[in-house]
């Protein structure tokens, strides 16, 4: 029964969404919007779980004085401090807003900027000509990079058109083919859950 009841609930919820989304009479009742709101409320409740998990993991780090425990302490102070501050003055409050704009945003941008270095090192690893596929990848990448950069069109007039052709024709068609297969795959997964064949989300290895 531990798995059967959640499975029945999943199937009923799935059928409800199909009926509420496609059938006109049910759509008029606005149940789909209500269900979406219920989901949002439940999602907000789940946040408490996240806070509890972080508190337990980092609380243990502090309690047992594990290495780098000081960062756990900073994390807990920031999490609860910012939480209390925003409850007191909302996220639009002067201090909360200042912290968001001057600490959170620049830190976020800094981590994002790391991507440039990681992409460079990944490109170096990927473009080492070892296999036939890597050679094709490298040649195409050089053509497209030269086409996108101003130097390509300066060296050979019309080069950016070649690069655009690569992006618009072989690249787009391959991407759309993959996307089509992926959509059908997601369809199949949804159907398997509706029929109660897929049970991994209820725990264990799924069988």
């Amino acid at each position: 029964m531990r798995k059967e009841i959640p499975m029945i609930l999943t199937v009923l919820a799935g059928l409800f969404v199909i009926v509420a989304k496609y059938l006109f009479a049910v759509d008029q009742l606005g149940w789909f919007t209500t269900a979406n709101r219920m989901y949002q409320v439940m999602y907000a409740m789940f946040f408490l779980l996240g806070v509890v998990s972080l508190t337990i993991v980092h609380g243990k780090n502090i309690q047992r004085r594990r290495s780098k425990w000081i960062y756990s302490l900073i994390l807990l102070i920031c999490m609860y401090g910012y939480g209390i501050l925003t409850i007191q003055q909302t996220v639009e409050g002067p201090q909360a807003n200042w912290i968001y704009n001057n600490i959170l945003n620049p830190t976020d941008a800094t981590i994002f900027a790391l991507l440039a270095f990681f992409i460079t090192s990944a490109a170096y690893r990927a473009f080492r000509v070892r296999t036939r596929e890597a050679t094709v990848l490298m040649i195409t990448a050089v053509i497209v990079m030269l086409g996108v950069a101003p130097i390509g069109d300066t060296l050979i007039h019309g080069w950016n058109n070649v690069a655009r052709w690569f992006m618009d024709v072989p690249n787009s068609s391959a991407m759309r083919g993959i996307a089509l297969g992926a959509y059908l795959g997601s369809f199949a997964v949804a159907l398997r859950i509706l029929l109660g064949l897929e049970r991994a989300h209820l725990g264990g290895a799924g069988q």
């Binding site: 990944a122 993959i178 199949a188 209820l202 290895a205």
Partner: protein, 275 residues
């Protein structure tokens, strides 16, 4: 004028019908697909032959990845990117997580799962706990190794980078999605940690990075076939075969549509599909 406009408004005919306007075509498409899959499931249930799924190297490599981590005495790191419970890629990742957790439990290897979504975090914890139980090693399950970090994208990235640097996993599995800019950072940080990497996603914008950076990559729909592939259940395989038949049907419609659009001035097929 006000009264006249009120009359005109009332004269509007009421909108009604069986389907929500614009959704009839989608419903029929879903219905055809469901029928095809249902037929294939029934064939499998009746013991009739169902085609096998071709070998997927990325899924075969999962065991190798865990085995390597066991030999090196280092953990396995599993991430789903930025999952959401409403995303099919996330749901497709659950059976793989269960399989990896069970393999880790069998080999007595530590599995670290980092999650940036609270709902998925709760589900993942349950999946891993159950997998350890099924493997007969409930005592080996450590709830602290299933970690909710934050739902803030780059803060999550920072958290994972710290874990990769500190724990030095011997294997990293990036499976499901959706993945965004964090994918490349994880892959490179995993490579720096010396981890064997198995990746799989249907996020087309990130696929080139997976192919370029991971040792094994699953592309697009392969991730949705994972549960059928791992379980080797004929009924589950039937759903994948049904999906393939539907794909042939769609290809036929695409080719027909291309021919009609090229050679006919009246694209009746497009008009019909849009209606």
């Amino acid at each position: 004028m006000g009264f006249l406009s009120l009359l005109a408004a009332e004269a509007k005919s009421p909108v009604w019908g069986i389907f929500v306007p614009g959704q009839a075509g989608a419903f029929i498409a879903v219905l055809i697909f469901a029928i095809l899959v249902y037929v294939m499931i029934n064939r499998a249930r009746a013991g009739q032959a169902v085609r096998e799924i071709h070998k997927i190297a990325g899924l075969e490599a999962l065991e190798e990845a865990v085995g390597r981590a066991t030999e090196m005495g280092r953990p396995v790191h599993y991430t789903m990117g930025l999952p959401g419970i409403t995303d099919p890629q996330t749901i497709a990742s659950f059976p793989v997580l269960g399989h990896v957790a069970k393999t880790c439990a069998r080999y007595d290897t530590r599995l670290i799962n980092t999650v940036p979504d609270v709902v998925v975090y709760a589900i993942n914890e349950e999946i891993i706990r159950q997998a350890y139980l099924e493997a007969g090693r409930p005592d080996a399950f450590n709830p602290d190794d299933v970690r909710f970090i934050t739902d803030w994208q780059f803060a999550y990235v920072a958290g994972v980078l710290e874990i990769l640097a500190a724990e030095k996993p011997a294997a990293q599995i990036l499976f499901g999605g959706p993945f965004f800019a964090e994918a490349m950072i994880f892959i490179e940080a995993g490579a720096l940690a010396g981890a064997i990497q198995v990746g799989g996603t249907a996020s087309t914008s990130q696929l080139p990075f997976f192919v370029a950076g991971c040792d094994y990559a699953l592309i697009g729909e392969e991730i949705y076939a994972a549960s059928a592939y791992i379980s080797k259940e004929p009924i589950l395989t039937g759903t994948v075969v049904g999906e393939d038949f539907y794909k042939f049907l769609l290809f036929a419609v695409i080719i027909l549509g291309t021919l009609v659009a090229t050679f006919s001035s009246n694209n009746f097929l497009a008009t019909f599909l849009k209606s």
